[in-house]
């Protein structure tokens, strides 16, 4: 028997899973209509954010608490983001070492080689990342992924950090030179802490190792793949468990989480607002209290108040978007990547997200689902 036949032969109990499905779907529509009441088909919706999202509060039985704040909901429009298509790099692109860049506009994974990548310079030309010895990044015992991470570029977009088995490779994009640093384990995650320190970690572990680029020394770090070190030196950790954990000791409960994405990514944080990748029904974050319906029913990008944990905006994935990515900032707006299919090829549509108004401003369509955003286009 082959596998195709097996599906119809395997003996599982009779299911009635289709029964009542239509009514459940109608129930969701009704809740969404309540959520978006008065918003006339667009973005701003009054949503109940229960008192229980605040630290120390408890869920109460009985009717839901009245709406206490507003959450902006951005309906995703995949087609509207299809502007400014960046041409795919040619395999014949010049090697980076022969034509280095001043700054990287962006970096994408080589679609044909997980160990490869292409750098788009701020002059608009692609370069092939010619670093010897790179191998695909292992994310578990079997699966490997491309070498490009959304957190791989430094602030100036002049250096690219790449996790490798037993090490870290930092490529100077202005010269093409690469330096390898030995690191315990097999990191799958990198993030720049400052100009001379890179955090590396196994993407599934809660903490990692800091590499000092000046001398190659390493030290254990309390931070891991879900930690963002901010410009003022403070740090914020937000993962699938839910609470925002600030380095000053504050633990802020929130009905949202940062559990989604192809691989763990740290939140973005600025001006008291934290951006994460919310996963519906995260197994470790049973939503406390009476959560906004949109967060219970969908995955997507979420913005929460960094002090209270209250959701302020949500961008659900919708049907066309398979995953999201947090790419950085453009001024005061977060730069986000929305990954989906076009003609059977995965691509990233990059946009800035104005979470205060719900507007998405498209920036580019990139020919890869693994990208790092530098100075941009």
């Amino acid at each position: 028997m082959n596998l195709r036949e097996l599906i119809d032969e395997v003996d599982v109990p009779a299911t009635r899973v289709a029964e009542g499905t239509w009514e459940r779907a109608r129930g969701r529509v009704r809740r969404r209509r309540w959520v978006t009441a008065g918003a006339a088909g667009l973005a701003v919706a009054a949503v109940a954010v229960a008192a229980s999202v605040l630290p120390g509060s408890e869920r109460a039985d009985g009717p839901a608490d009245p709406p206490s704040t507003e959450m902006v909901i951005t309906p995703p429009d995949w087609d509207a983001l299809a502007v400014n298509r960046v041409r795919a790099p040619s395999p014949d692109a010049e090697p980076l070492s022969e034509n280095p860049v001043r700054h990287a506009a962006l970096v994408v994974a080589d679609p044909d080689d997980e160990a490869g990548a292409y750098v788009l310079g701020d002059d608009g030309d692609w370069r092939h990342l010619d670093v010897d010895g790179l191998v695909p990044v292992g994310v578990d015992e079997v699966f490997t992924t491309p070498v490009v991470r959304a957190t791989g570029l430094d602030d100036g977009a002049t250096r690219l950090a790449i996790p490798q088995p037993g090490g870290l490779v930092v490529v100077d994009l202005t010269s093409g030179d690469a330096e390898r640093y030995d690191v315990p384990g097999s990191p799958s995650y990198v993030s720049w802490l400052d100009d001379s320190h890179v955090l590396v970690a196994d993407g599934r572990a809660p903490t990692g190792t800091v590499v000092d680029l000046a001398d190659g020394s390493t030290a254990r770090s309390p931070y891991g793949p879900s930690t963002r070190v901010l410009a003022d030196g403070s740090a914020l950790t937000w993962d699938g468990r839910g609470p925002l954990e600030w380095s000053d000791g504050r633990i802020v409960t929130t009905p949202a989480n940062n559990a989604a994405g192809y691989y763990p990514q740290p939140p973005l944080a600025r001006d008291g607002v934290v951006i994460g990748q919310h996963q519906r029904n995260s197994v470790r974050n049973p939503t406390p209290g009476n959560p906004p319906a949109a967060l219970s029913e969908g995955s997507g990008l979420v913005a929460v108040d960094g002090d209270t944990g209250a959701p302020v905006a949500f961008l659900p994935l919708g049907d066309d978007i398979a995953a999201t990515s947090l790419l950085g900032w453009a001024g005061d707006l977060p730069v986000v990547g929305l990954v989906g299919l076009e003609d059977d090829v995965l691509q990233t549509r990059v946009a800035t997200w104005d979470y205060t108004s719900g507007e998405l401003y498209p920036l580019a369509v990139l020919p890869s689902s693994w990208v790092a955003w530098g100075v941009g286009l």
Binding site: N2, L6, T15, T21, T144
Partner: protein, 162 residues
């Protein structure tokens, strides 16, 4: 959601539910989880049935089920690692008849199982499989090769007679 749509949706859903759950069971190894996955996908299908009915709702359902399972598994792996509980969910074959291929599937890792099922049970191309799982073509090819070698070492061939 219009009443005329309801009749066609329910007709389609009832006709496909057993196949969908069987397929999800082979993926997850857990009947309850298979039903949960299929039910959630059906609800989402109902929400946009007026559009889906004109296309290929079976393919759409398959993508939703696999993506949801992949997301759940990746998320779970992160969390079990933190809590140091067993990494691989046991594939419950106790409720199944002794089918060699089913038992052999149980010996694959979850990601090998997903790749093999998409490629040879669902007849997807390498590119389509990569898109569903959110990995590269190279990963699909490599995992296919590893999984087939593993199955053939057990004297089983999921693509025989094809």
């Amino acid at each position: 959601m219009r009443a005329p749509d309801r009749a066609s949706f329910e007709e389609w859903a009832r006709a496909r539910q057993q196949h969908l759950v069987r397929s999800a069971y082979l993926l997850t190894g857990d009947f309850q989880r298979a039903e949960d996955l299929v039910q959630e996908a059906l609800i989402r299908a109902a929400l946009q049935w007026d559009r889906l009915r004109e296309g290929n709702p079976d393919a759409w359902m398959r993508t939703v089920v696999y993506r949801e399972h992949v997301s759940w598994w990746r998320r779970r792996r992160r969390e079990v690692l933190v809590d140091e509980v067993p990494e691989e969910a046991s594939y419950d074959t106790s409720s199944l008849p002794a089918g060699d291929l089913v038992a052999a599937l149980a010996t694959l890792t979850w990601n090998q199982r997903a790749v093999v099922l998409l490629r040879f049970a669902e007849d997807l191309s390498v590119a389509e499989t990569a898109a569903v799982l959110g990995v590269s073509d190279g990963t699909v090819k490599r995992q296919t090769s590893v999984a087939l070698a593993h199955l053939r070492a057990l004297d089983l061939d999921p693509v025989e007679d094809r």
